[in-house]
Amino acid sequence: MDKDKVLLEVRNLVACIETGSGLVKAVDDVSFDVRKGEIVGLVGESGCGKTMTALSIMRLLPEPFGRIVGGSIYFEGQDLTKLTEEEMRAIRGNKISIIFQDPLTALNPIMKIGEQIVEAIVSHRKVDKNEAKRRAIELLHSVGIPDGEVIASQYPFRVSGGMRQRVMIAVALACDPVLLIADEPTTNLDVSIQAQILELINEIRRKRGTSVLLITHNLGLVAWLCDRVFVMYAGKIVEHAPTEALFANPYHPYTQLLLKSVPKLDSPRDKLTTVEGEVPNLIKPPSGCRFHPRCPYVKEFCRTVEPALIKVNTDHYTRCLMQDSRYSGEWK
């Protein structure tokens, strides 16, 4: 696995959404990268901007409300933000694929499953219908659906939720993409099925070398699957590190609280900790450090000074004034 080769590099991405009540900077100066063959996690609570980040990479922001306002997305030597729609179309479903949270609504309800996979194949590859059908059934086998022929002739609503998600994955893998973006792929599934889908994603990385950007609010998944993690809060990246390092040594108070609130089976505690407070308003975000209203270590200057990403260890960065040498003395 060539982990050092960078596949996708997002630099200072800014994306806005126009809502009825104002302009929301859903993605505010976000930077991260995905290297070849690795699984990167993008973690945060709902509304923090992680889905918008994913949609921005695919240039699928809801028009006319959503736009990329600044920054760049480098992929295979090109800046995706500067490509034309035609050029982008050649990449979608082909080099970069995305799977969404709810497979029932994400699949066309009146189109047979096989047809939906075939469609993905023929839009990017010059193969005839029969060859495409053959490949579609093969794909269904590869995602763990043994009776691919039968399933291919069914409509989405006739199969189970877990199987639908596998179908979505099959559609995403139709043209053997180098990057798979998975937006909350298991949130809507039963716990028992979740594990299977995650294992499938792992297998895809192992067998095909596909890189994965996993977007989730569930730290448990991250611990299991990801090589590196980026934690997002209120549209900004607040900490990132290799997974083990993050779990062993979370520097950002938000990360610490997230970790504490994951119930662990072997912990003697009988009380569940939660992260206090509400999701921040992204139209008028909090001043200074965006996490300050909910931070247990907040000091006066946290309300006015915006922290930058500071290196705390190899490949480990955090956005907190406690690590900023100019202010860290205040917490001694």
Partner: protein
């Protein structure tokens, strides 16, 4: 699929019966004595003759027997005779109804040809000037009385511009104005409906997935969005068919177009009640059958329906 068809057919039978009951009840109350119509208004006619006529018309039987006889005749296609001409009503209707159907079909085609593209465009260009104009325009079209529109069209195109014939039947030219008069309201309704459905469908997740697969814009719009949006439109056309048939009555009267509507209205004015009864029956039963057909088409397009 077949099971669904049979299931729907089964629900249609009681409706047919109900329709026949209601028409029968209505016709029982027609003013005037059918006996007198039969034997003429001779004041010196003997009571025996009146009795004989009454027995002949079956009016001495209790009502439910009269109904069953009526139903029996109905099933055999006997709709009685035209009181004025003596011809079987079924014959008059067989002549007139197809003409109305032709008019209905051309109107639906016109309405679809205008309505669906207008609806799709409005949905794609939501909030634009085109959208606002189309919105009000389509509502205006649906609010106009079709008999008035018909008169205005005649005034402008037949009298002033002398482009179209005044009335009658025979050549395709005779269909132009009646089609516009009848189809405009439906065009308005279809535009609004297509627009709202497209808007709803465009926002759905599977459209985002289709785009994420890298499909062309046209494929996403037509193969994915429109097909899904069209489903309820099929139902709307079915529902509006009733309004269309009713509307035909007015339009045919204004254009003196010899369809079943004009036949019925003239019959009403001439107190020719058997014709009226037959017309209402035929129109209603066709409406039920058309709705049945629409339901089956709907189940074919949207496979989810069969499993509900």
């Amino acid at each position: 699929m077949l099971a669904y068809i049979f299931k729907r057919l089964a629900t249609v039978i009681p409706v047919f019966l109900g329709v026949s009951v209601i028409v029968f009840i209505i016709m029982l109350n027609t003013p005037g004595d059918p006996v007198l119509v039969r034997i003429g208004l001779d004041p010196n006619v003997s009571p025996e003759k009146i009795e004989a006529a009454r027995r002949e018309l079956g009016l001495d039987q209790p009502i439910y027997i009269q109904y069953f006889k009526f139903l029996a005749r109905l099933v055999q296609g006997d709709l009685g005779n035209n009181i004025r001409t003596g011809r079987p009503v079924a014959q008059d209707i067989m002549e007139a109804f197809p003409r109305t159907l032709i008019l209905a079909v051309t109107s639906i085609l016109l309405a679809i040809a205008i309505g669906i593209p207008a609806g799709i465009l409005s949905a794609k260009k939501q909030y634009s000037a085109f959208d606002s104009i189309t919105s009000v325009g389509s509502l205006l079209a649906a609010s106009m009385p079709n008999f008035w529109l018909a008169l205005v069209l005649i005034m402008v195109f037949s009298y002033w511009l002398k482009l179209t014939p005044l009335s009658g039947y025979g050549e395709p030219a005779h269909l132009i104005l009646p089609t516009i008069a009848l189809g405009t309201a439906l065009a308005g309704t279809i535009t609004r409906f297509t627009r709202s459905n497209m808007l709803e469908v465009i926002r759905q997740d599977f459209i985002r997935t289709a785009k994420a697969k890298g499909l062309k814009e046209s494929v996403v719009t037509f193969k994915h969005a429109l097909k899904n949006a069209l489903i309820p439109i099929v139902t709307v056309i079915g529902l509006q068919f009733g309004t269309l048939l009713s509307g035909a009555f007015f339009v045919e009267v204004v254009f003196a177009y010899p369809g079943i509507g004009r036949l019925a209205v003239q019959a009403i004015l001439q107190k020719n009640y058997t014709v009226v009864q037959g017309a209402i029956l035929v129109v209603s039963i066709s409406f039920v059958l058309i709705n049945l057909l629409i339901d089956i088409i709907y189940a074919y397009i949207d496979p989810r329906v069969q499993y509900e």
